[in-house]
């Protein structure tokens, strides 16, 4: 009990709100209000598109938590998103499980893979680009497995017919098949995820991650078991990515090997970088904007989008290394 109390204080004891944080909080509240009103004006098609983007934003938040706070880059983060999606698809279509079971299966497998691989790499001192590239290799291996193990994964075609989430609670019925309901479900979960991560990272727990990210040796000589902290963060980020992936599978209704692959892994890094690493609200909004742009531009020309995305990424890296949110903050401070 006492230990639980200590853990709660570590994760949620909150300091006062700083000036920079106030700007972020204002942006978040405004964005939530606009998004909550969107179904009144948006078409069904756009609503579904934005809902998918909100689920992808949860995925982006999972990377931001890791990359933005511990500075640990994962170049194959789609691996965990894809495992979550495949876990859901296999559980519901092959095993006949309910969607809740699929969600748990996806998260459990992704967290186990992250914990097992992370244990060997992180405790052996593998860091930085070595770690990043190894995760990319894992994502490539997983894509190959998904493409070739047809009897389970459906091969290149993937798995069709993943059912939407349905449940009843407190006399209310939620049906993921309903466009508006699933939109609000995604909106609620995306902002809840952001709120929880933000609160945890401004609590003492966030200080530990910041210390490790800024100089791991220093944090170690202070008495923190840095390898263990990084392993916990890596596993939690993988679980959160899988959560997003499993939800995505139920709204899309289909999973395919590209959910595990390099393009999605690259895109999620770009969303986080464009929004501003470590800001949470930045990557969330960047995901929505960039995803919307990708749909619009891809409908004109499919080859144009990757080109533009790459150019945008370079522009951000050179002109705004702290992302779009830093632009808003600077204007506010000026």
């Amino acid at each position: 009990m006492a230990r639980l109390l200590v853990a709660c204080r570590l994760l949620f004891a909150q300091p006062g709100l700083g000036g920079r944080e106030r700007v972020g909080a204002q942006i978040a509240v405004a964005a939530f209000a606009v998004l909550a009103l969107y179904p009144a004006v948006g078409s069904d098609y756009h609503l579904a598109q934005l809902r998918d983007a909100l689920l992808l934003a949860i995925f982006a938040l999972s990377l931001d938590y890791l990359w933005g706070r511990t500075r640990m880059l994962v170049m194959g983060h789609a691996l965990f998103f894809g495992i979550g999606a495949y876990g859901m698809a296999i559980a519901t279509t092959r095993l006949g499980w309910p969607t809740g079971g699929g969600l748990l299966l996806g998260i459990a497998v992704a967290a186990s893979v992250a914990a097992a691989v992370g244990y060997f790499l992180l405790y052996a001192g593998v860091r930085l680009h070595f770690f990043a590239v190894l995760t990319m290799a894992m994502s490539l291996i997983a894509t190959q497995i998904a493409a070739s193990w047809s009897s389970v994964t459906g091969g290149d075609v993937g798995i069709l017919g993943v059912p939407p989430i349905e449940f009843s609670a407190f006399g209310l019925h939620y049906s993921g098949g309903d466009g508006t309901a699933s939109y609000y479900g995604a909106l609620f979960l995306a902002f809840l995820t952001m709120l929880v991560l933000w609160l945890a990272c401004r609590a003492p727990y966030g200080l530990i991650l910041e210390a490790i990210g800024s100089n791991e040796n220093r944090a170690r000589t202070l008495g923190f078991n840095t390898a263990r902290q990084l392993l916990i963060a890596f596993t939690a980020a993988a679980a959160l990515a899988a959560f997003a992936g499993a939800l995505f599978a139920t709204t899309a209704g289909v999973v395919a090997p590209d959910l595990l692959g390099t393009l999605l892994s690259t895109e999620v890094m770009i969303w986080v970088a464009i929004g501003g690493r470590g800001t949470f609200i930045g990557p969330l909004l960047a995901t929505l904007l960039v995803h919307e742009a990708s749909q619009t531009i891809s409908s004109l020309s499919t080859s144009l989008w990757p080109l533009l995305l790459g150019a945008l990424f370079l522009l951000i890296v050179f002109a705004l290394p702290d992302g779009l949110v830093s632009l808003l903050r600077r204007r506010k401070e000026a």
């Binding site: 200080l207 210390a211 800024s214 000589t221 008495g223």
Partner: protein
């Protein structure tokens, strides 16, 4: 309190330390001096568990430290202020101190006695560590190390990049802290004035071995300095 015996070790290719014996009592400040590459910094890195290869004995209060990972050595009461300051530049002064206290398992925040030693830090609580001057950062690094209530303090060149007035202040502060907290201190220092002002005993390292050991006052003799440091 701290006992080092026949310590050998290095970074893999050839030994840097070649059989060091050293005892530090609680409340005592020992300065380690020597030419570049003599193994001064390596010695305290070995105590902190940061050396890839180390053989011999390192004991704190009779319990072996050698072989433990760095974070466990820290939790047994060894605090380390690395060269070039050990602060977290993006964290505020307050957060830097809090994390020092928390790392040692303290749940009730920054100890008041640490702030009494460095009153200026209290006024700077909200400032980020990276924006302070070199001397202030060094003070913060020492304060953060003390926030964990260590038994043994390891300081690697606290005079590095710090203006002379602050160096003098640090020189007065170190023995005071050691006495007040019954703390053993190993001070690795190029600046002989600071080394002699802060410590009661001087140890000269040369090629990873102890070449000379004497009381601080005796080391003021220029002949002794010339003989062992060739300056």
């Amino acid at each position: 309190m701290l006992r080092i015996a026949n310590l050998r070790g290095g970074y893999g290719a050839g030994p840097v330390l070649d059989g060091v014996d050293l005892v530090v009592a609680s409340g005592e400040v020992v300065s380690v001096v020597g030419r570049n590459g003599s193994g001064k910094s390596t010695l305290i890195k070995a105590v902190m568990g940061l050396l890839p290869v180390a053989l011999g004995t390192i004991e704190l209060d009779g319990k072996a430290l050698l072989g433990l990972p760095a974070h466990q050595i820290a939790r047994r009461g060894v605090a380390y202020v690395p060269q070039g300051r050990g602060i977290f530049p993006r964290l505020t002064v307050r957060q830097n101190l809090e994390i020092g206290a928390r790392a040692a398992g303290a749940k009730d925040g920054i100890p008041g006695d640490v702030l009494e030693l460095f009153p200026f830090l209290k006024e700077r609580f909200g400032q980020s560590g990276g924006t302070m001057s070199g001397g202030e950062q060094q003070m913060l690094a020492i304060a953060r190390a003390l926030a964990s209530h260590p038994r043994l303090l390891l300081l690697d060149e606290p005079s590095d990049g710090v203006q002379p007035r602050i160096v003098q202040e640090i020189g007065e502060l170190i023995p005071e802290i050691a006495r007040a907290h019954r703390l053993g201190v190993i001070l690795v220092e190029q600046n002989l004035d600071l080394a002699m002002a802060a410590a009661s005993r001087i140890v000269v390292l040369d090629k990873g071995m102890i070449a000379h050991e004497c009381a601080s006052e005796r080391f003021r003799d220029v002949d002794v300095q010339t003989r062992f440091l060739a300056i």
